[in-house]
């Protein structure tokens, strides 16, 4: 088993002289649920995108499972997946066709069995024959999560995993993410504006502010440091 899941060294991203991520160095152990927090424009999405190879860093290095992303990209990508409400699947084909396509890209063995199992778990079996474009945003979120779990990712990146979901479905998804992590000993990195959600799911928090790390450590340490009992308090204090 690798020692670290994500390790970055002085990671920076600069667009046209504007620094979006600045000198971020983190070292996350293998296994666990980690939260990335920050206000709008803090650099969360850019940071996540760099971890998946979607954005090339301006400076610094990324190591996933102790391997350099630059030199072992495709080997690493087999074991990563991502879900975001801001990214879609082709709208004109069915949910099943979309899922089969991604299962093939990840070389999933026994594709249909895997899809049916995940569909049952996520209560989307009835949607499999529906055209993806006709789904509600809540249904799309669950289908996208299903897509993100097809390859049993060792590293799962979730961007607002419960956006547009009602309270009970959100709770179900959170429980599912937790049980998935336990069962597979995966590393899950979550960004969310739902502070309560991060509090419930994550033991370790990375706080980004204007592209820089403001805090990186255990959730309890963050509370201690800020003399607060919730992330909401910390954010509100910050605003004042």
């Amino acid at each position: 088993m690798p020692k670290t899941s994500i390790k970055t060294k002085n990671l920076s991203k600069i667009y046209d002289n504007k620094t979006v991520v600045s000198n971020v160095s983190i070292n996350l152990p293998y296994g666990g649920i980690f939260g990335v927090l920050g206000k709008n424009g803090a650099g969360k999405t850019t940071f996540l995108a760099m971890l998946m190879g979607l954005i090339t860093p301006s400076e610094g290095e990324i190591f996933i499972f102790d391997k350099s992303l630059k030199f072992h990209k495709y080997e690493i990508l087999k074991n990563i997946n991502f879900q975001s409400p801001y990214i879609d699947l082709p709208k004109k084909i069915t949910v099943m066709q979309n899922l089969i396509f991604y299962a093939r890209l990840y070389d999933v063995i026994d594709t249909k069995k895997k899809i049916l199992k995940l569909s049952e778990d996520l209560f989307i079996t009835d949607l499999l024959d529906n055209i993806y474009g006709t789904l509600s945003s809540g249904q799309k979120t669950r289908v996208n999560l299903c897509k993100a779990l097809l390859n049993d990712p060792k590293l799962l990146l979730l961007d607002e995993p419960t956006a547009s979901l009602d309270v009970s479905t959100s709770e179900f998804i959170r429980k599912y993410i937790k049980s998935f992590q336990k069962k597979n000993n995966s590393t899950i990195l979550i960004t969310s504006h739902n502070l309560e959600e991060i509090e419930k799911l994550c033991s370790h928090i990375i706080l980004l502010e204007k592209g820089k790390i403001k805090f990186d450590g255990k959730k309890n340490e963050l509370f201690k440091q800020n003399k607060s009992f919730s992330l909401k308090d910390i954010f509100l204090k910050d605003d004042k």
Partner: protein, 263 residues
């Protein structure tokens, strides 16, 4: 690798041919064109304006072959645009799919879409006008392949530009073919163009392809020199366009553009 390319091909097939209206949109235009030109030429021939028997064959061959180029380019760009329109690019690029595998997938679906688009047109032309595209014999395969390859070259350039500079460039996907149409000498010989334009037009493989087509249909001969020029120009443009497309993906990663595309 083959598994991933096949996955792409099947997915593009599902998107392209998944419903009757979408399938119809692929083949209605070549069919309408061939019928239009066929009836138009029939009228001229019956009025004695053109006496030679091969006029119809020359025009209809040009129509069908020009559409091979158009379908080839459109099949490639539209398949790529589907990824942009559905905001699906990030999902694709975080899989183990390599950029070059995407290139192969786009080429294969374009080939399939072109074949399906052209077949009804050839059938109708044969039925209504006694037109036999297959009179071109084995040369037909050569002309078909070279036209579709040039279509891919244009398709990769347009796709790369849209990826890099945004959807304002999408219009190019429809317009670019009609911009090069007058210089490609599809319906008239190279000599019909002004001298200065001729010099520029010679850099288009389409000019040599349609000159070759006319030579085969009228004189039943082929000039080897032309064949080499067609192959050389096409390979040159195809390699250049694929490199350009790959470079645009590289720049898109650098500028964070893969996240910001969509309807």
């Amino acid at each position: 690798m083959i598994n991933r390319i096949l996955a792409l091909l099947i997915r593009y097939k599902n998107i392209s041919f998944g419903s009757f209206p979408r399938l119809l949109s692929i083949f209605y235009w070549p069919t309408v064109q061939i019928l239009f030109w066929g009836f138009f030429t029939n009228f001229f021939m019956s009025n004695g304006s053109f006496g030679i028997w091969s006029t119809l064959n020359i025009i209809l061959s040009a129509v069908v072959l020009w559409d091979v180029l158009f379908r080839g380019q459109l099949g490639l760009t539209m398949s790529f645009f589907e990824e942009l329109w559905s905001r699906n690019l990030p999902n694709l690029f975080i899989t183990p799919l390599r950029d070059i595998e995407m290139v192969y997938g786009l080429i294969l679906i374009s080939f399939l879409r072109t074949l399906i688009g052209i077949t009804p047109a050839v059938f109708f032309a044969n039925y209504f006008f006694d037109f036999h595209l297959f009179e071109l014999g084995l040369y037909l395969i050569f002309l078909f392949l070279n036209l579709i390859i040039f279509g891919w070259s244009i398709g990769f350039i347009v796709s790369g530009l849209v990826l890099r500079y945004g959807q304002a460039f999408e219009e190019l996907a429809w317009a670019i073919i009609f911009i090069i149409l007058p210089f490609s000498c599809v319906y008239y010989p190279l000599g019909s163009l002004p001298n200065i334009v001729q010099d520029i037009a010679l850099f288009l493989p389409t000019v040599h392809i349609f000159e070759t087509m006319r030579l085969i249909l009228i004189e039943n001969k082929i000039v080897l020199h032309n064949v080499f020029i067609i192959i050389f120009l096409n390979l040159f443009y195809l390699i250049l366009s694929i490199l350009f497309f790959l470079k645009m993906i590289f720049i898109a990663r650098k500028k964070g553009l893969l996240f910001n595309q969509g309807e």
